[in-house]
């Protein structure tokens, strides 16, 4: 398969091939890690989902920077113990959103009113409150992202969906969620082939106007295709005896390790509530 890094990103066509290919690669890597036999992968998905949700809430609620800082170091550890390469985990968690957040947080250092932290010639440049609010924002964003990334990296998608059903999320949403995820890849492959086909027939580069027009047509064609596919899928579902009711074959079972994990997560939670 074409690798995202191999695509030069000069023109719009290549930019789009790059974006689509990167999306596909990211999903494939996620699937790869979720099937690895590691610490978090072995946990019962219900326990994992519940504890991760509660910890995400704790990150959101806490008013203590210390708690957020400890979580920053503590959260990736089980991920590394679950066979996820530290480099990959750091790249996945830290790139883009925390970096953007850090950039966004910089002006807060200077414009937040409060006690002086850094003064030059009698003028307050950075306030204590400014530094704290910037730290709050960056740490909270990074901690929440780490928790989300770890959950998805260590839980196969089908098990996650079955867990959603177990937590009584309506079957209509869960079914649409599962089918959407499946067909995203079909459509991504389709548009990527359309882009590549177009690129192979385009000497030089197109103007922005030509690109827009062509992109509009590609999107419209994809939309019509997706409608056709939905008709075909529906016929296929009916032919297999579909009754508008989702059945899952995943059976859950609790083990000792799940209880140990629950104990660990509760301790972290209690400590974070107690201190912050």
């Amino acid at each position: 398969m074409l690798k995202a890094a191999e695509v030069k990103r000069k023109d719009v066509l290549s930019q789009n091939i790059f974006a689509v290919t990167k999306g596909l690669e990211s999903a494939i890597t996620t699937e790869h890690y979720s099937r690895y036999d590691g610490l978090l992968q072995r946990l019962d998905p219900r326990v994992k989902l519940a504890t991760f949700a509660v910890l995400t809430a704790a990150v959101s609620f806490t008013e203590s920077l210390a708690v957020l800082a400890v979580m920053l170091i503590l959260v990736p550890l089980p991920g590394i113990l679950s066979g996820i390469r530290p480099g990959f985990l750091l790249k996945r968690i830290l790139l883009f959103i925390p970096v953007f957040t850090a950039v966004i947080a910089i002006p807060a250092l200077f414009i937040t009113k409060g006690d002086p932290l850094l003064s030059v010639g009698g003028h307050t440049i950075v306030t204590v409150q400014g530094a704290k609010t910037a730290a709050f924002l960056v740490l909270r964003v990074t901690d929440s992202l780490s928790l989300g990334a770890l959950l998805v990296l260590t839980t196969p998608w089908t098990k996650l969906l079955a867990t959603f059903r177990w937590f009584r999320i309506p079957s209509l949403f869960v079914s649409i969620l599962s089918m959407t995820y499946r067909y995203i890849f079909v459509l991504l492959h389709t548009v990527n082939n359309m882009f590549l086909a177009r690129k192979s027939r385009t000497p030089g580069t197109l103007t922005a106007k030509e690109n827009r027009k062509w992109l509009g047509h590609t999107l419209a064609a994809t939309m019509v295709k997706s409608l056709h596919i939905s008709e075909q899928v529906y016929s296929a579902m009916l032919s297999r005896g579909y009754r508008d009711d989702r059945l899952t074959i995943t059976r859950f079972k609790l083990h000792h390790r799940d209880l140990l994990w629950l104990l660990f997560a509760s301790t972290v939670l209690t400590l974070s509530v107690w201190t912050g």
Binding site: A19, I97, S144, T222
Partner: protein, 358 residues
């Protein structure tokens, strides 16, 4: 000096939101407080419920494959780099396009599902903030876009240039409205949620910075991108003879009524801004406020009547609850009570009218 910094913040925000790599207005976790996140889940829930009912009714057994495929399409659309006039590229949400092509309620569910996948798999938008993101992008955006399209289209012939203009205008207005809402949600954070020493705990920028940054970025980059995509795709679909769901429905007199409802809803949503104002509402003075205003005395009649009516929700608040939560719940309760009264009145009057006709 402070003004210069403010401009700097504005610039950073705009650059971020028009960035090629990052989504348009997905709020990550950490930018809004859990209270705001909870309220936004609460605000989104009734729309999800109605959408599920409406979609099941209109698509029956086909619901799951049709909505899922449209959702997958919208995910793909959001990944595209749209070349803009002027050399930059922007991203579109496709909410209005989906609402016109597949119907507003299918769009509500479809885009919510896409946002869930983006939050879970790509960290684009938070899990706690999923309610807020859905409310802005999957509910308000397609509904506003759809009703603007219906209103501007009026009785023009199907597949006419006016309908294309209506779609583009709807897309632009919808995305700017959603961006404004996002700006408000972010902007109220430092005013309402800070520690004892005044440190903002979540988004550090107030409404004076957050709202214009979100609005400006979306008016000039994401908004036009959305309008271009909707216009181009619909133009192509019109040529192929595709009739969008928005044009299949009977366009009776209800279009404008729906618009009124949407407007009322939006106004109700904007009420928390009232919290930012200081002072009291003109003419709504109580006994103490009259004295504070420097009147010097309290008219005897007012004094006698004060306390005569024990309000169920004094000062629009619920006891033992945050001021904002109470205020918003009061708004919902108030709007709900007025709407219920009007509905009952309308029913009675209609029934009377029918009886007199018979």
């Amino acid at each position: 000096m402070v003004n210069l910094y403010r401009k700097g913040v504005l610039a950073v925000f705009i650059v971020k939101h028009s960035s090629k790599e990052y989504g348009t207005m997905h709020i990550p976790d950490g930018y809004i407080s859990p209270a705001t996140a909870g309220i936004m889940y609460g605000a989104a829930a009734p729309f999800w419920f109605i959408a599920a009912k409406k979609v099941r009714k209109s698509l029956s057994g086909r619901t799951i494959p049709v909505v899922a495929l449209f959702a997958s399409f919208s995910f793909v659309l959001m990944m595209f780099n749209i070349p803009m006039p002027g050399g930059t590229t922007g991203h579109a949400v496709g909410g209005t396009l989906l609402a016109i092509a597949a119907g507003p309620w299918a769009a509500v569910i479809g885009i919510s599902v896409v946002l869930a996948i983006q939050a879970l798999f790509f960290g684009d938008g938070g899990v706690m903030a999923f309610g807020a993101n859905s409310f802005n992008m999957a509910i308000i955006l397609p509904l506003v876009g759809y009703y603007v399209y219906r209103t501007v289209s009026g009785s023009s012939s199907p597949q006419s240039a006016r309908r294309l203009f209506a779609a583009a205008a709807g897309s632009w207005i919808a995305i700017v409205t959603a961006a404004l809402l996002t700006g408000i949600e972010l902007g109220i954070q430092p005013l309402l949620f800070h520690s004892a020493d005044g440190t903002p705990l979540y988004c550090p920028y107030g409404p004076g910075i957050a709202i214009p940054s979100m609005a400006v970025g979306h008016m000039f980059i994401a908004g036009p991108a959305e309008a271009i995509v909707t216009g181009l795709v619909l133009a192509y679909l019109f040529k192929t003879g595709f009739v969008p769901a928005a044009d299949q429905e009977q366009s009776g007199g209800t279009g404008r009524l729906h618009l009124l409802w949407a407007g009322l809803g939006l106004v109700a949503l904007l009420t928390p801004i009232g919290l930012l104002a200081s002072g009291t509402a003109w003419g709504e003075w109580g006994v103490t406020e009259l004295q504070e205003l420097g009147l010097g005395f309290v008219p005897d009649g007012i004094n006698r009547l004060a306390g005569w009516w024990p309000a169920p929700l004094p000062d629009y608040g619920f006891p033992r609850m945050g001021a904002v939560v109470g205020y918003i719940l009061s708004t919902i309760a108030g709007v709900g009570a007025v709407a219920a009264m009007l509905w009952a009145l309308g029913k009675t009057l209609l029934a009377k009218g029918r009886r007199s006709e018979a």
